[in-house]
Symmetry: D2
Subunit: 359 residues, 4 copies
């Protein structure tokens, strides 16, 4: 049972089938192929409007490209201080910008709020030109702590952002999980709420290596065209990038897999927390669980072959007061099975039995 | 018959098998997996020494990373003025450098020579600090016109470069074709000759999307580690990048496929040029043919379903005097078949017959 | 009485005389002149060893150049979270780096300590390559709150930094004030303690526009040569930059002026705080005073034509608990006179009298 | 007699007087002072419309800031291949852009023409996205070979540029000389003709260190505000930058000095070329003379204490066929005197006499 990350999984079956189907004959390179055209159409259909589509192979690339297209190189980007762009991309956004700066916001469960946005803006103090101005707000959906923004929350955040002249980017590495969790229309979680560009992730959801930058502001298309190419993110055999995404979009495999991962997370959270087994740090909206295992439960689960990460506690983000014990992160994916959950449950039962016997 | 580019082909069978084999279970992300370790070992074996290995998905990424690791951001890079980094990567190298400049050298068939390097250096005139200093020489092997450098030629170029304090990079998008063409050891074409870093391409040779930056100067490893990550070129499901390369390296599939492409090019060149059919602009050392078709032959071949590019003539690089007629580029790949060549030949025979009948 | 900033002052008399003396005849541009050679010699004499000298016209330029020469473009720089490079240079360091990131440290009075450096490093967690590595520590001497590091404190901080592989930069916009305050040798406050590069400011101390990047690590000279030129910071009529600095260095005018500013600050602090007039937030080591005026005293002083800034309180840096009242900053300079202090004192006496009368 | 460069001269008397007048009392920093407001008004008056004004201390800074504000970081800038930005600024423009590329155009006397612009665009071939698109045309007025564009020529070039979607920048390091030479209105040489931003130089014309970026497109103001600050080009004691420019603008000192320099060049050209003394390579429109001295005349002049540069010949730009002998550059300035010309003439007479005697 590997719950370390959803990127530890292999490929969703549709993706491998899609790659195999694409693996015939010749095709023009660099996106001038039929599959790519179909992907563009599929995204426009999904979002109910024309969108710009730029496929790349990593989330870091998607975020860096989207944010640098939205933000002047001398501008600041607001994001949660535990956002992936802040803590996990090796200052990639700053590289794509050629400077700039990320400004960390607070918020429980890595969710920013209108008041944390306002507080972040106020703290920048705006002494022109000594401080760079905030230009973009980046939201992660689902968040780095597995929380989900509702369409209304996003709309309110976008309203706050626009009032201050900010563009809005959404890091949707787990956008599918958020759509599955909310049941909302993709359009309502993005452009209808005011999002200007979305990094729509497929890799964690079963693709081999596919993320889409979706431009709702079509004026970004030219920026993204040249920025993708010059950063080495335009594939020559682009059809194989499109094939992955198309396989996920057709028949709504993306939503099916994300929904499955979310359900597995709910079951896992239940299994972990029942019988006072573990304290959940956050309600698992999507496919990530943050909880506090007792030391003996931790030993028991690891002994049973269960893999997951210790996570740094952080009272300010609600990620756990380190004095209350170690926080652990479990991530489920399309590949997590009910058997995996049952195995966890078995380990827990063992423990309960063992504890009862010891008691 | 698609001779437009070797990147128009699909996947070599070994690559798809490798992907399928890797598609099971979970694995740690970001290169912390067994396949990646095996790739690193395989490259060290291939080059007969320890090397740094950094897999990425495009040649532009490999070149940008390698060149920015080798060159200070205020330095100049010498390359042939028709080098891929100069004309086909949307100023990606300058982006990775955060400035810098490419300086174009002359040379027939996109091959630079010691004297063209010396001439390029002399033209820079070196007024410190008004002109940035040359720091790196980038060679393309095989060149953009399908020519190949011998191990001796590379050694001489490296000697010239080192004498002027330049590092040497090799853009080996078609390195496999060059190895197959020369029969030389990979080591003799690279580090033993003085090359500091190599972009070793697999995509054009049958991979889905795999290029390796090979660092012979191990001091580059740290630079490349962080530069790859921050530019969004480190895959999370890295095992699927390693699987492609491993499939090519094991059993020398890379060399077999490149040799096949070269042989197909030789046959195609013969087919095109026999009976005064087409004038070869360059001898086809590797898998690219540049020739001048007569207008009626051009029509005939295209009518027969043969695809290839018109190419800009350029007398200075020997790529053809435009006044002498249109130059055409044909590229063969691992996927080119003898049947493809036969089909071309058939079209030519038709023409010959037709010409004879008309004559 | 203008206490808003030491950069509100005009020129020290030596500087204007120096400019006038330099204003004759012709001279080679770009630093190839006699005055510049003399400046280089004067700095080497001052520091008791050979140093690299790069004059520029702003502190932001000096810091950006020094830090980008010391730090790889993918590295992080540790500095106090209220350091000038962090809050007052519009993300200039990130621009000069082409990415990178500043990491804010805590510390009372904007002084970092070995433990705040250790805490900053620990918070970065060092997951390679997801987080960029710390590479440089930047200290401000005197600090943004007018505190001064002793030679021993700097040596200890450098020892901590070196143990973690960090280079050390000193932002010495008010280095002269720190030297005057400590009575230490410039060498003991810098290279002997382990500092690799210094931004040595002259503008706040009476120059028109002159800051020197001093490279103690001579390997930085080439980096700085090209970085200064390409960023537009190499003057053509460079002799007029050298003339300013030479006028300050010769006869130790720099030290005399800084000592005077410090003494004026001590007198001003005394005047402000006597009779319970104002609470000093920090002891004024150098030429800046942070204090908390009572509202009526504030009114009184401003009515008397005294100019100074309200300053944001920040309990975490000891800059004042906002709930305890507004903090004010007073800065003295070479141009502050005893008459200015007397005028402040007169306003205070007025107040005292007035208060007594009202009492 | 120093004819090496106009930046070898000291300060025009008005500039020193302006600095002395500004050297009193305190003033707000960073351009929030009265002199700066007066400079802004003076430029608006000069150009007959509102303009953005951004003073900096070098021409490289002015060009880098203006071009990076006009051009996306992924765009190309067309300029003459001997333009200062191309050959003398250490790839500063690329640094300010964070990538991008300069594309060199041909043209006699470093003057580009509509046809050289068209040829440059045609050579880029525009394969999207493999080549970066041209976005800006940079013209130097007066050119690096001392030639001047008429208002009509600029209008025609701007029309060509706009037709291709290019912005237009003017490097006016010697703009004053061009205005003096043409007698045209500054407005007619710039915004009325279609120029979007101008680097207006004062240093070569007698300032200590002052160049103005003039934004005719007011939308550039925000870009320039932040770009100037973050690159370290916003002075704290900004009044001393404004004082220089104001001294030059008031009473039209800038035009008087440039006109003088031009007249001195005309006289010098006459002196050099009479009696078959030297062959002029270009007619000296402004204050630079390029000529070919006979070897003995060269010796004679240098022996008489005359300083000037040998210049690389370049038949393609008309800068001289190296086979026809060494080209020399003479530059006059506001400080050149009729006595200097007389001294040159005396050396020539000596030669003529000597030659006659020898004959």
């Amino acid at each position: 049972m590997d719950f370390t990350s959803d990127n530890a999984a292999a490929l969703a079956p549709e993706v491998m089938l899609g790659l195999q189907a694409a693996n015939a004959g010749t095709a023009s390179g660099y996106g001038n192929d039929d599959l790519t055209k179909r992907v563009e159409t599929a995204f426009s259909d999904l979002f109910g409007r024309e969108v710009g589509v730029f496929l790349v192979s990593t989330g870091g690339a998607a975020n860096g490209l989207a944010l640098s297209a939205l933000t002047p190189s001398w501008g600041a980007i607001l994001c949660h201080r535990e956002a992936h762009v802040m803590v996990d991309e090796a200052a990639g956004v700053e590289f794509f910008l050629g400077g700039g700066r990320l400004v960390g916001l607070s918020g429980i469960g890595a969710k920013v709020t209108p008041s944390s946005v306002e507080a972040g803006l106020a703290a920048m103090d705006g002494r022109v030109p000594h401080q760079i101005p905030a230009r973009t707000l980046s939201l992660t959906q689902a968040t780095e702590y597995g929380r989900v923004y509702s369409a209304d929350e996003i709309a309110t955040l976008c309203e706050t952002a626009k009032r201050h002249g900010l563009k809005v980017h959404m890091d949707g590495a787990r956008f599918a999980n958020a759509v599955a969790a909310t049941g909302a229309e993709p359009a309502d979680l993005t452009w209808r709420a005011g999002v200007d560009a979305l990094s729509f992730g497929f890799t964690k959801n079963g693709a081999l290596c596919a993320e889409a930058v979706i431009a709702f502001d079509l004026a970004l298309n030219e920026e993204l065209t040249y920025r993708r190419k010059r950063s080495g993110h335009l594939w020559s055999k682009h059809r194989f990038l499109s094939a992955q995404v198309l396989a996920m979009l057709e028949g709504n495999a993306w939503l099916k897999h994300a929904g499955h991962a979310n359900r597995m997370a709910a079951l896992l959270a239940e299994a972990l927390s029942e019988n006072n087994g573990a304290e959940l740090v956050f309600p698992p909206d999507a496919n990530e669980i943050f909880c506090r295992l007792t030391p003996d439960l931790d030993v028991q689960l690891r002994a049973a072959g269960c893999h997951y990460y210790d996570w740094p506690g952080d009272p300010e983000t609600g990620a756990g007061d380190p004095t209350k014990g170690q926080v652990n992160r479990f991530v489920t994916s399309f590949a997590t099975t009910e058997a995996d959950i049952a195995a966890v449950r078995a380990a827990l039962v063992t423990r309960a039995t063992h504890s009862a016997a010891a008691g």
